[in-house]
């Protein structure tokens, strides 16, 4: 089993993971049965590392982000092992989890426009956050620290007492980042932080997030559906499909030599200047209540074999250091020696050909 994961080998040294998630499952209740939004996800993050989490909308990536901070809606169940600096977060009492949030675990949301209380000044947001976690902090100290992060985010001190509606969208996202970082949390989740913003502002926010590691030594989980952002800002990348991580590894390796067909198709469907046509992955993201048998991606996969429809693939390390959950990749790199000829024959899919004719 040990070779399966990035194991916490030397737990006490500086290289120890800040966040270590093993076999995380998050299911929601629904009329039709449990929605397996996250189903057996494992990853870890070291100090100052930026992990990009990428996938189509509805694949469970936002759910992971919320689950890590204990912000799941009522009715969601979560299990697995989640360690923050060696401490089990899932076993933590509610009250202590509240104390951790903001101080050690931060969150940056997608829509900055609605995330600030419209009736509170920026200064009041900072006062509230700092007072919650450092009871005896004085007013001047609050202001000094708030202005310091605001300066790093490029917000002039004259705006400290303004109301949220007086700022533009990009500025508000910088305010949210400042608010998330004022207590210098060791781990921050950024959930699609630039989706609601225009492209110029996007680049600016990504630069800021990228610089966090040098300024704050923060570990960052950057959730996005935009591969460009991952390529620009992340050290490692995890590709999610239907509640599972199908490929995880060094960002450059994953992008230059994608092992999983889904990653490959995702990269191809990204628009760049060199592309002539527009690629897209046929079919819709799977139903998370009744995901396809075997590999969840097989109904849409161009490389699908017979085995893919019946047996779930296992995550294996590939020669380039990435970890991939795919029968085809296993076959290519000799990780699945006992597959029969029938197993590896291309999968015949009637519904797809019917769709082609139509």
């Amino acid at each position: 089993m040990t070779e399966l994961y990035d194991a916490p080998v030397a737990a006490r040294d500086d290289n120890a993971p800040v966040i270590d998630a093993q076999d995380i499952r998050i299911w929601y209740g629904s009329e039709r049965g449990p929605v397996k939004a996250v189903d057996g996800v494992s990853f870890s993050l070291r100090k100052g590392e930026i992990l990009g989490l990428v996938g189509e909308s509805g694949c469970g990536k936002s759910t992971i982000g919320r689950g890590l901070l204990g912000l799941l809606p009522p009715g969601a169940e979560m299990d697995g092992a989640l360690r923050f600096k060696g401490e089990d977060l899932l076993a933590l009492p509610k009250k202590e989890m509240f104390a951790k949030r903001g101080a050690e675990l931060g969150m940056i949301f997608q829509e900055p426009l609605t995330r600030l209380n419209p009736l509170m000044r920026i200064s009041e947001h900072f006062e509230e956050t700092l007072r919650t976690h450092e009871k005896s902090i004085g007013k001047e100290e609050i202001q000094r620290r708030a202005l310091e992060v605001l300066r790093l985010m490029g917000i002039p001190p004259t705006r400290y007492r303004s109301y949220p509606h007086e700022f533009s969208g990009g500025m508000r996202q910088r305010l949210m980042i400042a608010l998330a970082l004022v207590l210098r949390p060791a781990f921050v989740v950024a959930d699609e932080p630039t989706t609601a913003l225009d492209v110029l502002v996007e680049a600016q926010i990504i630069r800021i997030l990228h610089s966090l590691r040098s300024e704050f030594e923060t570990s960052l989980l950057l959730i996005t559906h935009n591969l460009g952002i991952i390529a620009e800002a992340c050290d490692r990348v995890a590709v999610m499909y239907a509640g599972e991580i199908v490929e995880i590894g060094d960002a450059r390796e994953v992008f230059s030599d994608p092992q999983h067909p889904y990653t490959r198709e995702l990269l191809r469907s990204t628009i760049s200047l060199s592309t002539t046509g527009l690629n897209f992955i046929p079919g819709a993201p799977p139903d998370l209540v009744n995901p396809p048998t075997g590999c969840h991606f097989h109904p849409r996969c161009p490389d699908a074999m017979n085995i893919c429809a019946t047996r779930h693939p296992v995550q294996h390390a590939m020669p380039n250091g990435t970890r991939v959950q795919c029968w085809a990749a296993d076959l290519a790199h000799g990780r699945a020696p006992d597959l029969t000829e029938d197993d590896t024959a291309p999968l015949v899919r009637e519904e797809i050909s019917v769709a082609d004719e139509a």
Binding site: A99, G102, G106, F109, R115, P118, L119, E128, H165, E166
Partner: protein, 341 residues
């Protein structure tokens, strides 16, 4: 909604400008309904009592023998100078009715609002905070029933079962002796009694206020319960509430500081929308408790078929509704930094 475009004075000026056509339209509608439609108001009011010449003299004195368009323009001019005309049956200026009886209506409605806010806001917050609990269900049923129960029915029940045991009066704004003793200064009896330094009279007036104010307040509290509850539920789902939780702000603080406060802001707006409802309610409360306010005056003049009086009073009510709505909007703009456009 765009930020910083309008200053508060500019906003007030804009709203004032928008108010004028609205008042003009209402005044015109009242004129058509009560002056043009019914025919000759003098005959209606004092028809049987006077001979034809006397009636003509009355019409001439009231300017009713002139062409309608002249009467209309004249009427508009009068309203602009806050002159609402004269009654036909007892030749009294409407303005003096407003001065003499408006105070009673004012103290009734203010008292009712106080009751309504005191009952409605805490109950609404409680129901929203503990959604779907037994308490929530009970409070919601109370809200529906208090809104469903007609004011005069509640008033009757108060008179039958509550007034006796508590020793509270069921009619009028004060005992005759108090009315006789207190010198009218502000024409709001409660204030006048306080100004006079007359404790006995003040207590008497206060006692008379309890049941009418409570009855009218009950109706309004139902509105507030529903409103506050729904607002709280919406704010609790709000993005900034989740963001506050993500910063580790404790739940009770999130609810108190972020949800409660933001849930209460729209209450001010609705307060303005409830002016019309309050006025209708006050009319019924006054009738139930024989309260000497503008509502009873209106009913009396309606019964006397005095069109001029009804026209004047209805115009006044309509103007009050529009002006109060404007005031509430302005207050709201001053409180909530987002509202300005």
């Amino acid at each position: 909604m765009s930020s910083g475009s309008g200053s508060l004075p500019r906003y007030i000026a804009q709203r004032l400008l928008l108010m004028i056509p609205m008042i003009w339209l209402i005044v015109t509608m009242v004129f058509i309904l009560l002056r043009v439609a019914p025919g000759d108001p003098v005959t209606a009011a004092v028809g049987g009592k006077l001979n034809e010449e006397a009636l003509d003299a009355r019409r001439a004195a009231l300017g009713l023998d002139r062409p309608l368009i002249v009467q209309y323009l004249d009427y508009l001019g009068d309203i602009a100078t806050l002159d609402f005309g004269k009654t036909i049956s007892d030749n009294r200026p409407i303005t003096s009715i407003i001065v003499d009886n408006g105070g009673a209506t004012l103290s009734l409605t203010i008292g009712a609002f106080a009751f309504a806010l005191l009952m409605g806001i805490p109950l609404g917050l409680l129901a929203g905070r503990y959604r779907d609990s037994a308490g929530d269900v009970v409070i919601r049923i109370f809200g529906v029933v208090s809104y469903a129960a007609p004011i005069f029915f509640i008033g009757l029940l108060m008179q039958i079962w509550v007034a006796g045991p508590l020793g509270l009066p069921t009619s009028d704004i004060a005992s005759p002796i108090t009315k006789f003793q207190v010198e009218p200064v502000t024409h709001i009896l409660l204030l006048d009694a306080i100004i006079a330094g007359d404790t006995e009279s003040t207590v008497d007036v206060l006692k008379h206020h309890v049941l009418p104010c409570f009855t009218l307040g009950l109706l309004l509290s139902g509105v507030f319960i529903r409103l506050v509850r729904v607002n709280l539920l919406m704010t609790l789902k709000g993005d900034y509430v989740e963001a506050a939780r993500a910063r580790g702000i404790p739940e009770r603080y999130v609810i108190r500081r972020h949800a409660f406060r933001n849930a209460l802001v729209p209450v001010i707006t609705v307060l303005g929308l409830q002016v019309a409802l309050t006025l209708s309610g006050a009319l019924l409360t006054e009738s139930t408790f024989n309260w000497p306010g503008l509502g009873t005056q209106l009913i009396d003049y309606l019964t006397a078929r005095d069109y001029a009086a009804v026209q004047g009073l209805v115009t006044f009510f309509a103007v009050v509704v529009v002006v109060v709505s404007l005031l509430v909007d302005v207050i709201n703009a001053a409180i909530d930094p987002r509202v300005r456009y």
